[in-house]
């Protein structure tokens, strides 16, 4: 059995602090929905959740699939009923690379350009690790 290791990067940690500050979600939603969903990554790709493309999909940019790039998706989150996205890199380990509110296509494109850079930096071993889930 393969046991995955989930790495919390600085980008993910900063996103959490920002989203919390903006009151995008409350602690209850984080504890009861987001964190358990993230923990499914320990059982990637076997968990049935990863067959649901409303929750999980590969990342594409201008129609091209980005190697090693995936995103988790939550819909109608919080009182603002926003679309929350969490880019995930799957390589030797699984890396949480940030989270953002998908406001429009421009925001999505900017965030994915950042994610592409984060993927390249992880491949180079150039990132900050804030913690692990295992």
């Amino acid at each position: 059995m393969i046991v995955n290791k989930i790495v919390i990067t600085q980008w993910a940690f900063d996103s959490y602090l920002d989203l919390k500050h903006e009151e995008i979600f409350i602690d209850g939603y984080f504890r009861e929905t987001i964190k358990p969903d993230v923990m499914f990554l320990l059982d990637y790709p076997n968990a049935a959740k990863f067959d649901n493309n409303k929750f999980w999909s590969p990342v594409s940019y201008n129609g091209n699939i980005i190697a090693n790039g995936f995103k988790m998706k939550w819909h109608q989150v919080g009182n603002g009923r926003v679309q929350l996205r969490l880019p995930v890199a799957i390589m030797k380990n699984i890396y949480l690379c940030g989270a953002y509110v998908k406001k429009n296509e421009k925001t999505e494109k900017r965030m994915l350009a950042k994610f592409k850079t984060h993927l390249q930096l992880i491949k180079e071993g150039n990132y900050i690790k804030c913690g692990e889930l295992s």
Binding site: K20, Y61, K109, A113, N126, I128, K129
Partner: protein, 171 residues
């Protein structure tokens, strides 16, 4: 312009025509009032990192000033990330401490912003540090962990001796 139409590759490189577009955008950035330091770093980083190149091209095609500012702040963050150079590991942060950390960072940034406002504001600070104004605005408004290099630049510009750069949440 079709600068965005390429796929992610292990060994990224721009085409000669994309290189030229990048340099054209550098001129545009200069006219927009961005510092030579920032533009030079942005272009150098874009030549190595596809995602940064995407953002520079996006900036070149964008006409909305607010959206342009967001792109500048994104590029600035990535320049810092790309220049770090190696893996860093932090002391593991406990979930139960997150709210305390968030409040601590907010309070720190609010007090620093008060000082910045007393000494001429963000616009002047941008000129003194060479950090683009949109990046400074995001630095103060967002709740992300402050970067040590940014704090040192701010402290140096404002001639503050006692700025706290040794908090464990300063990266």
């Amino acid at each position: 312009m079709t600068a965005l139409a390429y796929s992610y590759e292990e060994n990224f490189h721009l085409t000669p025509s994309q290189d030229v577009t990048l340099f054209d955008i550098a001129h545009k950035m200069k006219k927009y009032g961005l510092s030579a330091d920032f533009i030079s770093s942005a272009i150098r980083t874009a030549l190595r990192y596809e995602g940064v190149a995407d953002l520079v091209f996006m900036w070149g095609q964008e006409s909305n000033p607010d959206e342009r500012d967001e792109i500048i702040a994104d590029i600035h963050e990535l320049i810092d990330d790309c220049n770090r150079g190696s893996l860093e590991e932090y002391t593991m942060i406990r979930f139960n401490d997150l709210d305390m950390i968030r409040k601590d960072i907010r309070s720190f940034k609010d007090s620093l912003l008060k000082l910045v406002d007393e000494r001429g504001g963000i616009s002047l600070l941008s000129k003194m540090t060479g950090i683009p104004q949109p990046s400074l605005s995001r630095f103060f408004n967002a709740n992300a962990m402050p970067r040590r290099q940014t704090l040192i630049k701010i402290a140096s510009a404002l001639k503050i001796d006692a700025i706290k750069t040794n908090n464990f949440w300063v990266r």
